[in-house]
């Protein structure tokens, strides 16, 4: 599955204000007797309306960095500010609130609730955000229409194709109008044609002013981004434009 390389350079949009500021972040895990240094001091800034790919082989600290950017985890040491808020010192429920309002997740395996229809899956962040029922329905429906699933609103995940499922997941990530969309191998479970469609959708979202972070080990996917960060052994190896 390698989508064709872009023929022409993609336009890079002017970046906005600072969203994420990470400075000297380390993360240690205790695995039995052994201490694993997943991140050894990473510094990074991400601004609004960037399209960023994070790359690296397994064990490079890619997943750890992604979890941290997604506020699922906090650093062992170092500074992490999200829209000016100090994430490093937050407790679980505060992190949950940041995730709810500021971050949209797209997973490799979609992670939809299997028993709920598309609309209800998309509504989930709004439910936890306390959005009133009527507004919730309206926003979820509109978001599904935006990702091209206006005619699949009441289908359950098992009645949808892989690409459609990932679109539902993307709608779920978008519905709260988050500051960043964090995608973990978003095309990993899709055939190449569908993968290209999803990447085209990401490009649309970027064009509309969204901030995207895609974590991947595939060059062909990373090349759709405008900026690529490469990790190796818990350190940033390179950080620069995609082409």
């Amino acid at each position: 599955m390698s989508p064709p390389a872009p023929v022409e350079a993609r336009p890079v949009r002017p970046v906005g204000p600072l969203v994420i500021a990470i400075e000297g972040v380390t993360k240690l895990y205790q695995m039995g007797e052994e201490t694993i240094h997943a991140l050894r001091g990473v510094s990074l800034e991400i601004r609004r309306n960037e399209y960023l790919a994070i790359m690296g082989p397994s064990g490079s600290g890619k997943s750890t960095l992604m979890n941290m950017l997604g506020c699922l985890d906090t650093p062992t040491a170092g500074k992490y500010e999200f829209n000016g808020h100090d994430v490093a010192g937050m407790v679980d429920d505060e992190l949950a609130e940041i995730r709810n309002r500021e971050i949209g997740f797209v997973f490799q395996t979609f992670n939809l609730l299997p028993r709920s229809d598309a609309l209800r899956n998309v509504e989930l962040p709004l439910i936890y955000g306390g959005v009133p029922t009527h507004e919730r329905h309206e926003r979820a429906r509109q978001t599904l229409i935006d990702v091209g699933l206006g005619n699949r609103i009441h289908h359950k995940p098992n009645e949808l194709s892989g690409g459609q499922r990932q679109r539902v997941a993307i709608a779920r990530a978008l519905v709260n109008r988050p500051s960043i969309i964090l995608a973990d191998e978003p095309t990993g479970n899709l055939d190449s044609k569908t993968g290209v469609e999803i990447l085209a959708l990401f490009n649309d979202l970027y064009e509309k002013g969204n901030t995207l972070i895609v974590v991947t080990h595939e060059e062909s996917v990373a090349r759709h981004a405008r900026r690529i960060i490469r990790l190796h052994d818990g350190l940033i190896e390179s950080d620069g434009p995609a082409y």
Binding site: A96, R115, Y128, R172
Partner: protein, 411 residues
Amino acid sequence: MNEILRMAFGALGVNKLRSFLTMSGITIGVFSVIGVMTAVSALRGSIEVGLSFLGSNMFQFSRFPAFGVNGNDEHKYLARRRFTLDQAQRYIEFMAGTADVICLKAFANGNPVVQASYGNHKTTKRVTFGGTNQYFLKANQFEIGTGRNFTPEDMDLVRPVAIIGQDIITKLFPSENPMGKLIKANERTYTVIGTFASKGTMFGSSEDNIIMIPITRFLMDFGAEKYSVNIATEAPSQQVYNATMEKGITAMRVARGLRPEQDNDFEIYSNDTLIAAFAKVADVISSGALIISAIALLAAGVGIMNIMLVSVTERTKEIGVRKAVGARKILILTQFLVESVVLSVTGGLVGILLGTIAGDVLASLLSAQIIFPWGWATAGVTVCSAIGVVFGMYPAWKAASLDPIEALRFE
């Protein structure tokens, strides 16, 4: 909150069989207590509003207490002397002028088992068979259907005559008039002189499957030494009831030849004491049912906890997704708690419904008024909610405390 309820019902609907099996534990526990309580309350209510063990203003002597003789006391009562016909007749003499309606009776009560026959027709294997006097009707609220009551002459002359109930007529005389016919009971022959009007059933047994003969005849034919005579006295009015009972006790002591320093070697009971005795039995049954249900509910609670733990493990990924999109701890906790409470309360409601039906069916078989046990039903719902919360707390807490990263990685 609305949304959380919706999620809980949705989740339970997925595993219908499992939810049903888990609920049925609670259902059984609640069913047993509600069933027993409904039946007992219905009986108690009916007894209090007028079902009488004895005719009004009656009191009665007996060797044994009405209910609740337990093993330890049994020998004490068995050691008591029987009431003989002699004692009864002396008692009647002493009471003359104070109370004239004194019913004497003694029943075969399986010793021996009595089956009556007329030609080829036979009664059921076990009929109520006994001896009595002319006051049987009054003391036991029987009425003569056809023919005549016993007379003092029947007693004095030890006549082999019988009054029979409707069930006996149906069995022995399907197409004949029983009056004047000779029926056989345990190799003895009695002439039918009357029939009892139908009484229906009491406490589940027919009161119409009955043959009564003069008590003098009964004791002669079946052996005076085997039976104790039950003596029921009717006070002339409610006003003199207590005075009559006082005098009756004195008369009985004299008739039994008790010296002043000796205790009564007999029981005396009235409607009130019988109702009180019944209440005591009912309390024992109720507390037994409570204990059994408590154990059943405890077991059911453990079942709920088990199934909720399984459910949390199965849905680890779902919990991860919910946390990733911003569910706070308390919301995950509430979702799983609501699930376990819904399980246990639904089970409880079904138990209340079935228990009430079963209790009322039992109560109506015993000809008591049917009731709905509001108090017990409320208690049942409360206890079930508590079970849901207590046994659901640990699984729910476990779900709420999952690390979202680990949970999302779970396969």
